[in-house]
């Protein structure tokens, strides 16, 4: 993430890293003991689950837990290098044991409403800036939800934001997700300090560029699809 901070231990216990050959490629969110939610575009080039590994904990080099991937289910309507239906679920080979540092995020109901200017957090091990270095420790940044109307203005994304996407960040730029954060969580806190997953890091132009906020797959829009694949 660009212009973020290092995350505290156990601050985002649902955050997972999807890796190949020990290298971080994408973020993901733990939604049950054996299912992760992530972005479909993470598997544009490598769809074989045997190549993938998931790790948990705030540091990549010494994770708290690792799991092999049993299966990868990409949305049927997703097309590589397109932004629509950029969602996938990943089944772990063996369930994780929940602990204070590793446990799941809440999934919102289909009617869950997130208003523009709501404060939300995006987390990940992505670049600290476009083409910048990648951190070993998880980072977080607080951004704001931007209405699709604003995001579809000509000088922003000119109509590319569909109903299955959420726009979040700042038109002034700076705080934003970056490459390597893809698939990771965009979360919002509700009463009782409970966090809900509302977005999956999907795409954007650059990182933290003016008038180019981040675009996230809208989780509520795919609530039934998630249930049909995971029964959660």
């Amino acid at each position: 993430v660009a212009h973020g901070q290092i995350a505290n231990k156990a601050a985002w216990p649902w955050q997972a890293s999807l890796q190949m050959d020990g290298m971080h490629f994408c973020g993901a969110s733990l939604i049950s003991a054996d299912w992760l939610l992530t972005a479909a575009h993470c598997f544009d080039t490598h769809k074989n689950p045997k190549l993938w590994m998931a790790s948990f904990g705030t540091t990549l080099r010494s994770p708290l837990m690792r799991r092999k991937v049993l299966s990868i289910i990409v949305h049927e309507n997703y097309a590589a290098h397109k932004h629509e239906d950029d969602i996938a679920v990943v089944k772990l080979s063996t369930p994780v044991l929940f602990s204070e540092n590793v446990h799941r995020v809440c999934l919102p109901g289909a009617t869950f409403e997130v208003l523009p200017e709501s404060k939300v957090f995006v987390t990940g091990w992505g670049g600290l800036k476009a083409n910048g270095p990648f951190p070993n420790t998880l980072r977080q940044v607080e951004v704001e939800v931007i209405s699709s109307d604003v995001c579809n203005r000509v000088y922003v994304y000119g109509g590319a934001v569909s109903s299955g996407m959420i726009c979040a960040g700042f038109l002034t730029g700076e705080r934003d997700a970056c490459e390597g954060d893809s698939g990771g969580p965009l979360v919002i806190v509700q009463d009782q300090n409970i966090w809900y997953l509302i977005g999956i890091v999907s795409w954007g132009i650059g990182c933290g560029k003016e008038n180019k906020p981040g675009l996230y797959t809208k989780v509520t829009h795919y609530r039934d699809w998630i249930k049909s694949k995971t029964n959660i």
């Binding site: 601050a11 929940f98 590793v102 446990h103 995020v105 999934l107 509700q190 009782q192 300090n193």
Partner: protein, 185 residues
């Protein structure tokens, strides 16, 4: 005149090394007596979790019980925790009982069933005694009409749970994460 001898003041003059020796011996003796006491009273405490299943005949299952953090679920969990706290804090195990944690609710022909985790602390050699006493306390209280909780006849006794499994149950609620907004200091 026989001059009585002058009694010289008998000054007990201990050599310094004798003082050090006696002091060390006293300190050592105290350490040998107090040390094990402190150890067994404080450090030999182990935490043990037991799983229980209780019946709640007076409440019908409601689909909202399966909705994470729904008010109906949160309120009933609190009510059950308060009831179990009351039972054990009035019992002979009030010094060993730490707390209870309500996991899931399950529908049942006669109302509702609740999965509960009970946490105790005690010296490592009294595990069996504690479990027997806890079972007795649960049976005595849940058989009386005072409690809305009843014994689940299909799982009438407490079952020991290891630490990792207990932690899994304790963290099975979704969405517990960073404190937000950060508490202003």
């Amino acid at each position: 005149m026989y001059q009585p001898g002058i009694l010289e003041r008998r000054t007990l003059s201990l050599k310094p090394w004798m003082i050090v020796l006696i002091t060390t011996a006293i300190v050592l003796a105290l350490a040998i007596i107090i040390g094990p006491l402190v150890y067994f009273l404080e450090y030999d405490q182990t935490t043990q979790y037991y799983q229980a299943s209780f019946q709640i005949p007076s409440i019908d299952y409601n689909p909202d019980f399966s909705v994470e953090h729904s008010k109906i679920k949160t309120d009933l969990k609190q009510k059950i925790n308060n009831e179990i706290d009351k039972i054990f804090q009035r019992s002979s195990l009030h010094n060993n009982y730490i707390k209870s944690h309500v996991g899931n609710f399950r529908p049942n022909n006669h109302g509702l069933k609740a999965d509960i985790l009970l946490r105790f602390k005690f010296t490592s050699n009294s595990a069996n005694t504690i479990k027997r006493q806890a079972d007795k306390i649960v049976h005595k209280n849940l058989k009386s009409n005072d409690s809305f909780l009843k014994i689940d006849t299909s799982l009438p006794y407490l079952r020991e749970v290891n630490g990792a499994q207990a932690e899994h149950v304790l963290n099975s609620c979704c969405g517990l994460g960073m404190e937000y907004p950060p508490v202003e200091r």
